[in-house]
């Protein structure tokens, strides 16, 4: 069954191209994907991300429990701080990547839309501690206001001084007179905010943001632009770049994997991979020859032997380059390593590059 977000009528009114995305009717674009990418990189735009899931964790053992089920270290979080993390199965495969919010009375886990039910089951299955968990996804609306002008727009709607909220920090405060969790986060590489609130205020919030943003020519943007923005930053997309058959070490997420924590789900396998080394790894690459790498295309050595597979790829409108990422055998994973992508029978050259692909993002 497909679900509508509380902004469905807004998307229709704006002429959004709506598709079924993992069970939600979502806009892929309004006026054009490339225009929307450029808008976020240069001014400000709004994404409906209400399909994302929110799971509350409360109770005396909440920190201990979250530390067990996630690979990053939530004990490092101060009040109102946010952390990018992931959950693993005991075999090291990734259940989901997520954000962990440490709020006043609870922790909030923000998970991918495609994984809400699976994640919630896995979380409940893991409880041996004194915690209560609640899936509040269906009650929460979420908007991401992204771009260099995002702060100016949201500042008009609140008394708190937004300049004091640092990147990956949050506040529980009123925006447009609506109680929210507001965080300086987003998955675009630009400055911006994500705002979570009761879905019954969806229209009021949307209208307030668009009214405040009018002087900055704010416009709605769709998932198509979001996918390119995240790829330009080499941010992973669950289901493409990482999944239950890949580990965070393989998925180039060692930087969020805290193996010094004494125990957490998947630790043994991840530690072993770290110590003994990998056979394959996710790498970011750009095309030397002209062609668009796409998910599922084979990566080959110069003799045509398969050495891996593309997981994401597209045109970077900002760089005017064709970029992508994919898993390759370890010997091809160093910067400047060259290989070919089999683009519908043509072997086109590509090389591993440093990331982010797009280096001028305004995220703080």
């Amino acid at each position: 069954m497909t679900k509508k977000t509380p902004f469905y009528d807004k998307h229709i009114a704006l002429g959004g191209h709506l598709v079924d995305f993992v069970g939600f009717i979502m806009p892929t674009q309004y006026k054009g994907i490339i225009d929307e990418v450029k808008r976020i990189r240069t001014t400000v735009g709004v994404f409906d991300v209400s399909h994302m899931g929110e799971i509350e964790v409360k109770g005396p053992d909440a920190l201990k429990f979250i530390s067990k089920i996630t690979i990053n270290d939530p004990s490092a979080l101060s009040l109102n701080q946010v952390q990018y993390s992931a959950m693993c199965y005991n075999d090291g495969g990734i259940v989901d990547d997520l954000l962990v919010y440490r709020l006043k009375k609870r922790y909030l886990l923000v998970v991918n839309a495609s994984n809400i039910d699976k994640d919630f089951k896995w979380i409940k299955y893991n409880i041996n501690e004194n915690v209560t968990v609640k899936n509040i996804s269906d009650d929460i609306a979420q908007l991401a206001i992204q771009g260099p002008d995002a702060e100016k727009v949201i500042q008009k709607l609140t008394d708190i001084d937004l300049s004091e909220i640092r990147f990956y920090w949050a506040e529980e405060s009123k925006i447009a007179d609506i109680e929210t969790v507001l965080s300086r986060t987003g998955y675009t590489g630009e400055d911006g905010f994500e705002v979570y609130f009761d879905k019954k205020y969806a229209d009021k919030m949307w209208d307030a943001i668009f009214e405040a943003g009018k002087e900055f020519n704010i416009e709605a943007c769709g998932l198509g632009a979001r996918d390119i923005l995240r790829l330009e930053m080499y941010y992973r997309l669950y289901g493409n770049d990482i999944d239950s058959a890949t580990t965070p070490i393989e998925g180039d997420l060692s930087w969020i994997t805290r193996l010094n924590k004494t125990s957490f789900n998947g630790r043994e396998v991840l530690l072993k991979q770290k110590v003994e080394g990998l056979t394959r790894k996710l790498v970011p690459f750009e095309m030397i020859d002209k062609g668009i790498p796409r998910q599922g295309y084979k990566i080959k050595d110069k003799d045509g032997n398969i050495i891996g597979c593309v997981t994401s790829g597209n045109l970077s409108p900002m760089l005017q380059k064709y970029i992508g990422c994919g898993y390759v055998e370890l010997e091809y994973s160093n910067i400047d390593s060259e290989f070919t992508i089999d683009i519908r029978g043509r072997l086109l050259k590509a090389k591993v590059v440093k990331t982010p692909f797009y280096k001028d993002g305004t995220h703080k």
Binding site: I33, I34, G224, I228
Partner: protein
Amino acid sequence: MNFPENIKYTKSHEWIKVEGDMAIEGITDFAQEELSDIVFIELPDVGTLAEAGKAFGTIEAVKAVSDMLAAVSGEIIETNTALAEIPEKINQDPYGEGWIIKIKMSNPEDVNNLLSAEEYEKFIAEGH
């Protein structure tokens, strides 16, 4: 959406304009709008033989790759090489600057199998 009267259409959303035994082919306004954001085009070599209903090249938008099918059979005598640098011309002007190939028709009767503007508009309206 725009359906000029002076050209013929295919059910795979190409158009041709016939000039003597020569046909100019492109993709329709409907096709460019469906594809949106065209970012790459693979053109055939001049001199290649096109066969009606068979792929002569591919067109890539941000989110999709499609084959382009020849509307008529014949020799490809020219390609719109400007599209290699500026493929978005197809979005901006699908029936003009966004033309894709010119074919010297080997079988001009192929044109009789194509749709008129009215027929194509009806075909689209039926949800194809």
